[in-house]
Amino acid sequence: MELFFQQLVNGLSLGGIYALIALGYTMVYGIIELINFAHGDVYTLGSFFSLSILTVLGIESEMHGWPLVAAIIGIMAGAMVFCGVVGVLIERFAYRPLRNAPRLAPLITAIGISFILENIMQLWQGPSPVPVPTFIPDPSFTIGGVSIEVKQILVVGLAIVMMLLLNFFVYKTKLGKAMRATAQDRDAAQLMGIDINTTIALTFLIGSALAGSAGFVSGVYYGTTWFFNGFAAGLKAFTAAVLGGIGNLAGAMLGGFLIGLVEAFGAQYVSDQWTNVIVFSLLVLVLIFRPSGLLGESLPNKV
């Protein structure tokens, strides 16, 4: 029984990471109906960036007190800014020219960008997984036989905070309203005076920044990173976004945590090697039987 709760905790922390990535996928899909293949790699860039900063600052061991807080906030903010900028640049130069092209075109372009990013990261840190200095002390406490690390609470907490902030932004600010309008009807939004280009760029900025934060978190949480992480993580996060209902923020969160749990329980009760198959089978099943996801609306086709 303890094992169950242990995996519950593990699954939720894993899910927090997926949720953060999924938010970015769902935002971008919601606004321009593009599955941003490169998003997973932007996530990895976040951890690579964090690794570089840690290396440059010479941080190798645990920190404490205020310097620790400063390091966490500073590096994470840095990763978010870095990834946000990368996301905006990708949108500007690779996706925007294809905004009116048939859907196939930007999808293929996204795959191309993904390959480019992966290759760059492979050349940057090599083809094997690389250790990330764990500078966050790792006290854990035990409740009823289940060990919960502070890190895990951090991850879940971060995901929830980000979603609340994002929700506030999207539903209570003018820019957020512009985003929602553009997502619903691009032409009408334009006619209302909304600058589509800026709005879409903003969407990518936020989405990629969230992926960057996930990258930072995963790097320091797992203590390792790998150039090819983004592919599987991205695909699973996309599964999460679809599961929750693509275009729906709360759905991305829900989906992310669910997928994390599926993976944790799958690894425990089935087998490690089958978790990917389980998650991707879930993706296929959701798309076949309920493409609108758990929280999405099914829109009828009007002729």
């Binding site: 109906e33 599955i35 690779a94 020219p97 294809l98 009116n100 092209a101 048939p102 859907r103 196939l104 075109a105 930007p106 999808l107 293929i108 372009t109 795959i111 191309g112 960008i113 993904s114 390959f115 480019i116 990013l117 992966e118 290759n119 760059i120 492979q122 050349l123 592919f231 695909l235 996309f238 679809v242 090697q273 089958w274 990917n276 198959v277 991707f280 089978s281 993706l283 296929v284 798309l287 076949i288 493409p291 002729v303």
Partner: protein, 354 residues
């Protein structure tokens, strides 16, 4: 030049085939011959994917899954693994049938999904299938794969490790494949694919059973990779899950994107270009760099970046590919074409009528 274009296309085809068939007698470079023999596998894959993506307009991002099924079919039915030794020539028909069956199984529940969702589902399959082959180690030997596969035998002549027979078999398979694809293009089925691509609802009103048509495309495309799988596995004498990952699916897709989706010959050229990029151009460039003193450089490491750059550049600057079919080129540039002509004229006339 005029002489050439005036010839009957079938005669042209025969001449090209003869020229290629004579290459081994002129070019004695073993590496070249080996390349051509291997290339035929990828051209087959490209032609098969072209049916799915180019003709029927279904984006398949997990085509390597069918390649895996075809290859493993050969490995399991022509080796010591289960001690089944079905002859190569029979498997040339059996493996495509098996793969086509899987095409139908995978396609039946998923082909009604719209474009990008279908792409993701196929991507999912592309991950699930090789992982499954990896995991079922009691049947597939897991990561080590199945090796020592049976060599094709023709009238007591065993192919073994020689390249030449594989070259000719590859050429033969290609001829068959090209003929089939040509036939499909100008047929009732080919037209229905084009119609579905253009406007699925209108196509249904023509009496086209769109589900069946898409399923046919999927199954036929799968059968081609079944064929490629037999050619590939028999020559390599080994299959392992590593060879059927996502990068292979994208590799084949890139051939279509580069060469020109929908255009049979564009696809063939795209396929040969990308294969030679990997096999010759990058290694040669590395040697060149080494000669210049840059010993650390290894261009093969830039492979994926190259593919990525090719994909992005083509999509941005020439989405129809190098040798587009006229129709695809028109479709992709529709935003620029004055398709608004119809609505424009309509409002003109409505004004005039009042």
């Amino acid at each position: 030049m005029k002489f050439w274009t005036g010839l009957d296309p079938r005669l042209k085809g025969i001449i090209v085939v003869l020229v290629i068939a004579l290459v081994p007698f002129v070019d004695h470079n073993g590496a070249h011959l080996n390349f051509l023999a291997d290339a035929s596998t990828f051209v087959l894959l490209a032609l098969g994917l072209n049916i799915v993506v180019g003709f029927a307009g279904l984006l398949d991002l997990g085509y390597a899954a069918f390649f895996a099924i075809g290859s493993y079919s050969y490995a399991m039915l022509a080796s010591g693994q289960f001690n089944i030794h079905i002859p190569f020539w029979v498997l040339l028909f059996l493996a495509p049938a098996i793969t086509a069956l899987f095409g139908v199984l995978l396609g039946a529940p998923t082909l009604r999904l719209r474009g990008d969702y279908l792409a993701i589902v196929t991507l999912g399959f592309g991950e699930i299938v090789p992982q499954t082959f990896l995991n079922l180690s009691q049947w597939t030997n897991g990561p080590n794969g199945i090796s020592a596969l049976d060599s094709p035998v023709l009238f007591n002549y065993k192919f073994g490790l020689q390249t030449l027979p594989y070259f000719y078999v590859g050429l033969l398979l290609l001829i068959v494949a090209i003929v089939i694809v040509h036939n499909l293009q100008d047929s009732r089925l080919g037209r229905s694919w084009m119609a579905i691509r253009e406007d699925e609802l209108a196509a249904a009103h023509m009496g086209i059973n769109t589900t069946k048509a898409k399923l046919s495309a999927f199954a036929l495309g799968a059968s081609f990779s079944g064929l490629a799988g037999v050619a590939y596995a028999s020559k390599l004498s080994l299959v392992s899950p590593d060879n059927f990952q996502f990068n292979v699916s994208i590799f084949v897709l890139s051939m279509l994107v580069l060469g020109g989706m929908g255009n049979i010959y564009g696809v063939i050229i795209g396929s040969l270009l990308l294969s030679s990029l990997e096999r010759f151009i990058l290694p040669q460039a590395t040697i060149f760099a080494h000669n210049l003193g840059f010993m650390q450089v290894d261009f093969s490491q830039f492979r994926f970046m190259m593919y990525g750059i090719i994909l992005v550049s083509i999509m941005l600057f020439r989405p129809e590919g190098l040798f587009p079919s006229r129709q695809r080129k028109a479709e992709l540039h529709a935003a620029e074409l004055d398709v608004a002509l119809a609505t424009q004229e309509q409002s003109m006339y409505e004004e005039a009528a009042h």
